[in-house]
């Protein structure tokens, strides 16, 4: 029976796990409500809110018009009125139409109020490349992380999506929760890294990275879909005698420098893989924090692999050329290990 349950769990698509996490929290806390486009009747374009409307009604599951400015700012008012809203921005790229409410209001009000007004809001959104070109493929976690006052999470497996969603909904700080479209569309059995998902509610803390594959030659830090790619690459190069330690950061704010620095201190090599843009982003920030921790001579090699400051192209051949996929990661790992 337990085995069958576990098997069902493994086959369960990620969106159903996310919907379950939200439902468990909504059940626990009547002040939680969800607002977004197509989240009610349709259950979300990826199915991450399926079933919530029937269970919780239209006051707590609001099918919003295409009016992100209104409904993201609405979350700020709801929070001020004592509620705990979850706002879905369908694709992270759309944040451009309502960034004002996120970074001028939600992110700054706790500080501007001298800590007297909390902003328990989750901005849930889907990012990442699935061949949808420049306006539907970005990650943008670096953008949010750059703006003070927002926590930013981007999980890579069903277990962490469920636990981090619960943690985000229980947090008194605004959290941007970035799902990856490729992971949302992936079959449960196709996850390389798929820790068992408990049936009951549980939390995963923000700011705690996970070592998902131990290794001794190179430390590879990344998050979201790139964890899957990193594991694939690590397996490929393992056959060539290169041992890679893969770290899933899980959140960017807070950023778990400790775990990465500890690993990099022992391997001597750090590769940061980031599906977001290269410049002024996660890869530079994390690398520098590790160097600050270990000193300029604490590492033999530091490398980063990210989208080279170009909009995501439509043609798959071009998209592949700019993304840090498994082949490129493996290639870079070989170069690094070869330099020993």
């Amino acid at each position: 029976m337990n085995n069958r349950l576990a098997n069902d769990r493994r086959a369960m698509p990620l969106p159903a796990t996310i919907a379950e996490a939200i439902a468990l929290e909504m059940e626990r806390d009547p002040s939680i409500l969800c607002i977004g486009e197509d989240i009610g009747r349709a259950g979300g374009v990826f199915g991450t809110t399926r079933g919530l409307l029937d269970r919780f009604g239209r006051d707590r599951v609001v099918d919003a018009p295409i009016a992100e400015m209104a409904f993201s700012g609405m979350a700020v008012g709801l929070a001020q009125a004592g509620m705990r809203p979850l706002v879905e921005i369908m694709f992270v790229d759309f944040i451009g139409v309502c960034l004002e409410q996120v970074y001028n209001a939600a992110a700054k009000i706790p500080y501007m109020s001298g800590g007297r007004q909390r902003m328990p809001i989750v901005f849930k959104t889907a990012g990442g490349c699935i061949g949808s070109a420049a306006q539907h493929s970005q990650c943008l976690w670096g953008l949010f992380a750059h703006l003070p006052g927002i926590k930013v999470v981007a999980p890579c497996n069903p277990h962490d999506h469920k636990g981090l969603m619960a943690e985000a909904l229980r947090s008194d700080d605004p959290v941007v929760f970035i799902e990856h479209k490729d992971l949302l569309l992936r079959k449960g059995k196709d996850f390389r890294h798929h820790p068992e998902v408990p049936d009951e509610a549980y939390t995963v803390p923000m700011g705690k990275a996970a070592v998902v594959r131990p290794g001794t030659d190179v430390t590879l830090a990344t998050l979201s879909l790139s964890v899957e790619h990193a594991l694939e690459a690590a397996e490929t190069v393992a056959a060539e005698g290169i041992s890679v330690e893969v770290i899933d950061l899980r959140s960017i704010v807070p950023l778990d420098t400790d775990t990465v620095a500890r690993s990099a201190a022992s391997t001597g090599r750090l590769l940061v893989v980031d599906e977001d843009y290269l410049s002024f982003g996660l890869s530079a920030e994390l690398t520098l924090r590790v160097i600050e921790r270990l000193g300029l001579t604490g590492l033999r090699q530091v490398e980063r692999l990210a989208v080279p400051d170009v909009p995501i192209p439509a043609a798959l051949s071009l998209e592949k050329a700019v993304l840090p996929g498994p082949d490129k990661i493996a290639q870079r790992l070989r170069q690094m290990a070869g330099g020993r």
Binding site: D59, M69, M83, Q101, A105
Partner: protein, 332 residues
């Protein structure tokens, strides 16, 4: 004769209460100008002189459970909502004793205790007020959310989107548009597709009301009508109060867009305190009583400013506090 509610002096006639509220608001912003001249307030300061009748008229219909989300020109609305004047003035003067411990400043007062907040981004008050309105709708009472903006803010996308959502769900939202006819320098008549903002209400299934915002009696009457409508669950309202801004958009505004004589003319013709005073005196009110109210409010505010200026500035050691509840997320 009806009696004024909170913030007026208890038991005084409503006429005195209305005059006193306006006098207090004027004295408050004059104290701010005084503090600015002394170099105590930094950054842009937006005072509301000339627009007192709008907030004073609104005050009578506000209940503690209602919410007001105001704009960059927010001091009078805060006083109308019952925000403590001392804490507000201390915040504007950037003191640790301020409403927000000196972190917000004059454009960003937040007072959870009275459901008052503001934003420095024009038009951004409406979406936040919409959130309160949705919460009030869910909570089942008859509290109302008021989003205050200007004629400039009425043109923003967020205003439109918020009215769409409030109209569709018949939420208890009142959009109070203080139409002072100038979006910084640009005249309303040049950029508005409609003669009034209130007439846009039909597009949202909202009630649209227009009022002379220099007449405190008229504002009180019309605003009460708006609040009754929203409280009764009949959906959102746009209240447009036309008024005049006596000073620049901000202190330091060179005001190259209007001649000095125009400013003088507006002060002479449309000062809400002068207008109200004339009405009361014509009805037999003693000038001495009104002078007494003006003098009392003025000296009270002077004392308050003197007190506030004795307060401590925030300790620089706390400059990084209050970003997150747990102080996590800082670069380690």
């Amino acid at each position: 004769m009806i009696r004024a509610n909170a913030e007026g002096n208890s038991g005084e006639p409503v006429t005195h209460a209305r005059f006193r509220r306006m006098a207090r608001m004027r004295a408050f912003d004059e104290a701010c100008l005084d503090a600015l001249r002394r170099g105590v307030i930094h950054g842009e300061l937006h005072v509301g002189l000339g627009q007192e009748a709008v907030a004073a008229g609104m005050a009578e219909s506000l209940r503690p459970e209602d919410a007001v989300v105001s704009s960059h020109r927010n001091h009078f609305h805060a006083l109308a909502k019952g925000v403590d004047a001392r804490a507000l003035l201390a915040e504007i003067c950037e003191r640790e004793t301020g409403l927000c411990r000196g972190r917000g400043g004059h454009m960003h007062p937040f007072d959870p205790a009275t459901n008052f907040s503001a934003t420095g981004i024009v038009g951004a008050s409406l979406p936040v007020a919409l959130g309160y309105a949705h919460a009030f709708g869910m909570q089942g009472g008859d509290a109302v959310a008021i989003g205050v903006t200007g004629d400039g803010g009425s043109h923003t996308g967020g205003f439109h989107e918020s009215m769409v959502m409030a109209g569709a769900r018949r939420l208890p939202l009142v959009a109070l548009v203080e139409n002072n006819a100038l979006a910084i320098s640009v005249p309303f008549s040049e950029i508005s597709p409609t003669a009034t903002v209130a007439e846009r209400s039909s597009a949202y299934g909202a009630l649209g009301l227009h009022v002379d915002g220099t007449d405190v009696d008229a504002v009180a009457r019309v605003f009460a009508q708006a609040m009754d409508h929203a409280r009764a669950g009949r959906g959102p309202v746009i209240v447009e109060a036309t008024c005049h801004r006596f000073r620049g958009h901000f202190e330091g505004d060179p005001e190259g867009y209007r001649p000095r004589e125009e400013r003088r003319r507006l002060r002479e013709q449309f000062d809400p305190l002068t207008l109200y005073r004339a009405r009361l005196e014509a009805a037999g009110e003693s000038p001495d009583v009104l002078d007494g109210i003006l003098a009392a409010e003025k000296s009270g505010m002077k004392t308050l400013l003197a007190e506030v200026l004795e307060d401590e500035m925030p300790d620089p050691a706390g400059a990084l506090d209050h970003v997150f509840t747990d102080n996590a997320g800082r670069p380690a």
